[in-house]
């Protein structure tokens, strides 16, 4: 009998399991677009079905546009976090004034909406104004309060959109106008939205009317709970103006990913060309046994690319005993990152000592921060030092071997989402062995507990800094902290420090590109951060997407990192536009 987990065995099983099913698949594609012109995505779903079907309004609360229909929208700019390169798309240029209080965006000539109407600076101004006014009033649209807090006025004249801020806003361009990860605003057609009374309740989908009305190359032609179809419009402005060749993908079909098992089977049987993340244990055999399936790093570890969701163990620094920095540090010293990565990711990941994702754009900052962690011994497990700190803080071991003071045991629940289950279980076990009586929990109300501070610990990712360290630094400022019971989002440490705040405020008004000015301030801020240990950075978070080259090539890889491969990000349309048909 062969080794039970040998890749060949799994692959064989996968093929067999879906062989019969495939015959039915090919029959269904016989309609009008051949399989080789169709791109099939196993996209984000709630279980076996898509959620929020038919809501194409990217600002309506609860929308799940990024299932696939977002691929019809285009951005003003795209941003490549691997290379730090900005790709102009609907806009050609954006220029700040010297004080970063005004930004002028220039719109590209010849762009049209899918109904033939010209795309203008007025559409951009309308979208920003819509959000600004909503944020100041009803506040029921996504991003609206953020925009209202920063903008004072938006005006359009000719091809130029002038955005005025109520103070220096050097990162507005990066955070809201460049499509990358979850960042970036989609522009709405003014001639549709200006007559809509309740934008939050407007779903903007009607295939017969050609809604969502977009500038992108695809029409959403079908949207059910189990399938989304998007068909190419050959009169797309990019092709008619010669800006960019017509995408080779004639039809996009999205089907529910459901779970990793199903995702692996879909891509293995060529029933999908790309899926959402798979765990190492499934993607390793998939790519090693199958020449047509690749990952960002080919068939070798870590089988994917770094995401902005680098993982940390967060404390609720307002809840005893984690209000004592010695206790937080003692917990940090109990963690063995190498062992976590060995068991949770089969060694195909990287430990992280900083709260930053390992992007090229942040590499210098990470190199500055890591020695600060090492100086304080926070880069390795040291159970003796951990115990010494606990004793110093007045704790002793009880009969069960757990730390205790005045009859109160140190422990509690680490809350997180289900996807963190494997890692969370291991972290909890390491801490238990070091005398902290913790357990890992992922319940329906875990996010609520983390948010309003009832959870004393949580496992969470950062989705903040990409191009410069400000966004992450800003998440530990006093403005983010509220008493236990009052919800905060999306950063949960409830730790703050006045001295640290002052340094971050200095960084806020600096251009994100001004590395030489930011670096010394960054070093000061991070020194305080490591002294206080508001959280324990654990590991980088990788997107491990299988990409099938049977029908489509030119997927982003480490040799050709032109954009993030994750198709559900706001940069998805740029990925689709660059795929090439296999020979």
């Amino acid at each position: 009998m062969p080794h039970p987990t040998s890749p060949g065995r799994i692959a064989r099983t996968l093929r067999l399991a879906s062989a019969l099913a495939l015959s039915a698949t090919s029959a269904a594609f016989a309609q009008d677009v051949p399989r080789e012109d169709t791109l099939i995505l196993a996209a984000n779903s709630n279980g076996p079905e898509f959620g929020s079907v038919g809501n194409a309004n990217p600002y309506a609360p609860g929308n799940q546009v990024n299932t696939a229909p977002h691929l019809a929208y285009e951005g003003l700019f795209y941003f490549n976090s691997f290379t730090r390169e900005t790709i102009p798309w609907l806009a050609t240029d954006a220029v700040y004034n010297d004080a970063f209080t005004e930004l002028v965006v220039t719109i590209r000539d010849g762009v049209t909406w899918s109904d033939g109407t010209a795309f203008t600076a007025g559409d951009v101004a309308f979208t920003l104004e819509l959000l600004r006014q909503n944020g100041a009033g009803d506040a029921n649209l996504s991003y609206a309060v953020d925009i209202a807090n920063q903008l004072t006025a938006v005006t359009a004249e000719g091809n130029a959109v002038t955005i005025a801020f109520n103070g220096p806003a050097p990162r507005f361009l990066q955070d809201y106008l460049k499509m990358h990860f979850g960042n970036g605003l989609y522009i709405l057609p003014r001639h549709v939205f200006e007559t809509v009374e309740d934008v939050a309740a407007f779903t903007f989908f009607d295939a017969a009317k050609g809604w969502p009305l977009v500038t992108g190359a695809y029409d959403v032609t079908k949207w059910t709970s189990t399938e989304i179809n998007m068909d190419r419009r050959d009169d797309w402005w990019g092709a008619t103006t010669g800006f960019h060749a017509l995408p080779e993908v004639a039809r996009i079909i999205a089907v529910p990913f459901n779970n990793a098992d199903r995702g692996a089977q879909l891509v293995q049987t060529d029933a999908a060309d790309i899926t959402r993340d798979l765990p190492v244990g499934l993607i390793r055999p998939l790519v090693q046994d199958n020449e047509s399936i690749i990952t960002f790093t080919g068939a070798s570890e870590p089988f994917g690319n770094v995401d902005w969701w680098s993982t940390s163990l967060y404390f609720n620094s307002l809840a005893a005993p984690f209000d004592d920095a010695r206790v937080r540090r003692a917990v940090g010293l109990a963690v063995d990152r190498a062992q976590l990565i060995d068991f949770a990711y089969e060694n195909a990941s990287e430990p992280s000592l900083t709260p930053y994702p390992a992007f090229g754009a942040l590499a210098d900052y990470i190199a500055t921060a890591e020695p600060l962690a090492a100086e304080r011994g926070l880069d390795r497990q040291d159970l003796d030092a951990s115990a010494a700190l606990m004793e110093d803080a007045g704790f002793g071991r009880n009969s069960a071997g757990f730390w205790e003071k005045e009859g109160v045991e140190v422990g509690g629940e680490i809350h997180s989402i289900t996807a963190m289950g494997p890692l969370g279980t291991l972290v909890a076990e390491q801490l238990r062995r070091a005398g902290f009586n913790v357990s890992f929990v992922s319940a329906a109300d875990s996010v609520a507990r983390i948010r309003d501070g009832r959870a004393v610990m949580s496992l969470w990712g950062h989705h903040a800094s990409i191009g410069d360290p400000y966004a992450t630094l800003n998440s530990y400022t006093c403005a983010q902290v509220k008493p236990i019971g009052e919800p905060i989002y999306p950063f949960f440490s409830r730790w703050c420090n006045a001295e640290y705040d002052a340094i971050v405020e200095q960084i806020r008004v600096l251009s994100p590109d001004d590395t030489s000015a930011i670096m010394p301030l960054f070093r000061q801020a991070m020194s305080i951060w490591y002294d206080e240990v508001p959280e324990i950075p654990l590991a980088q978070w990788y997107h491990r997407l299988p990409m099938n080259t049977t029908y489509w090539t030119n997927w982003p890889t480490q040799d050709n990192p032109y954009i993030q491969p994750a198709f559900w990000l706001t940069s998805g349309a740029y990925l689709i536009a660059n795929l090439e048909k296999a020979d």
């Binding site: 987990t5 799994i10 099983t13 244990g281 499934l282 949770a344 890992f440 319940a443 329906a444 875990s446």
Partner: protein
């Protein structure tokens, strides 16, 4: 001695009961003996190299988090049985009490209790259990889970005990006791309760089975207790960590086999007890 001999003789006449009891004793011995013989701390993560098939060192293999599955199965079987015993026992106690009160006192008390039982029997219990478990999951333990499950195991006993009491209370010896001036409580505890014991025992066995069924069901969909090592939680981890696609057959088959044996044991004991409580059934069955 004579009692034992008589019991043994009876067991020989009731092979179903005997087989069930032998199977159950085997499982109990396995979990009790096993937890004395092996290091139970290896049932927790990072105790062994992950995802290893059974071998001399790891007779049952390990899972992806590095739990030694031999220790997991040994402890898990005991914990799962514990949930069943508490969940079933508490349910039968509550159900029996309600049934006794309803059947003996009749009148409006009976009307209220019977209606509640009828209503409760119609609402699919797992739906309610899932809603409760999801609301309370943070902080759930093996014990609290058993008590939540008791919320569904009381209904059948309540109905059956009530029906039984209704017939018992008209028996001549109960009427005699009543005429001789015994108090209501004395009649219930001295005359009726002893005669209910076979039914209580049979109901307890069935309720234990139901409790285990619900517990494993809840755990398998991820609504079990934190950090608990049970057969149901093993099934949950096996399913979430793609044991099938990774070809980790041992991780699938071990907990499933033990659970199947456990359910068969309970089923045979309950069938056997039916024969014990209703000897007529047995005779009719074999007369064919």
């Amino acid at each position: 001695m004579a009692d034992i001999a008589r019991s043994l003789a009876y067991l020989r006449r009731n092979p179903t009961l005997t087989a069930g009891l032998v199977l159950l004793s085997g499982l109990v011995l396995g979990t009790l003996g096993g937890s004395l013989l092996i290091d139970v701390s290896t049932a927790y993560p990072m105790s062994a190299r992950p995802a290893k098939p059974p071998s001399a060192d790891l007779p049952f293999g390990s899972d992806t988090a590095g739990r030694d599955l031999l220790a997991v199965i040994v402890i898990g079987t005991g914990q799962t049985m514990k949930i069943g015993l508490i969940g079933g026992g508490v349910g039968v106690l509550i159900g029996a009490l309600l049934g006794l009160v309803a059947g003996y006192f009749r009148g409006w008390v009976d009307a209220v209790i019977s209606t509640v039982v009828d209503v409760a029997l119609t609402i699919p219990p797992l739906l309610v259990l899932i809603a409760i478990a999801a609301s309370l999951k943070g902080g759930m333990t093996v014990n609290s889970m058993a008590f939540i499950i008791a919320l569904m195991t009381w209904r059948e006993p309540a109905r059956q005990i009530r029906a039984q009491v209704l017939t018992l209370r008209e028996k001549p010896y109960v009427l005699t006791a009543r005429l001789s001036g015994q108090s209501e409580l004395e009649i219930v505890f001295r005359e009726i309760l002893p005669n209910l014991i076979p039914y209580l025992a049979a109901n307890f066995v069935i309720a234990t089975g139901t409790a285990i069924l619900s517990a494993v069901g809840l755990e398998a969909i991820g609504l079990g207790a934190n950090n608990a090592v049970t057969l149901g939680s093993t099934i949950y981890w096996m399913m979430t960590e793609s044991a099938f696609l990774r070809g980790m057959w041992w991780w699938v088959l071990e907990p499933v086999t033990v659970l199947i044996l456990l359910f068969i044991a309970i089923y045979m004991i309950s069938l056997g007890m039916d024969e014990w409580a209703n000897p007529r059934l047995r005779k009719r069955g074999t007369s064919q």
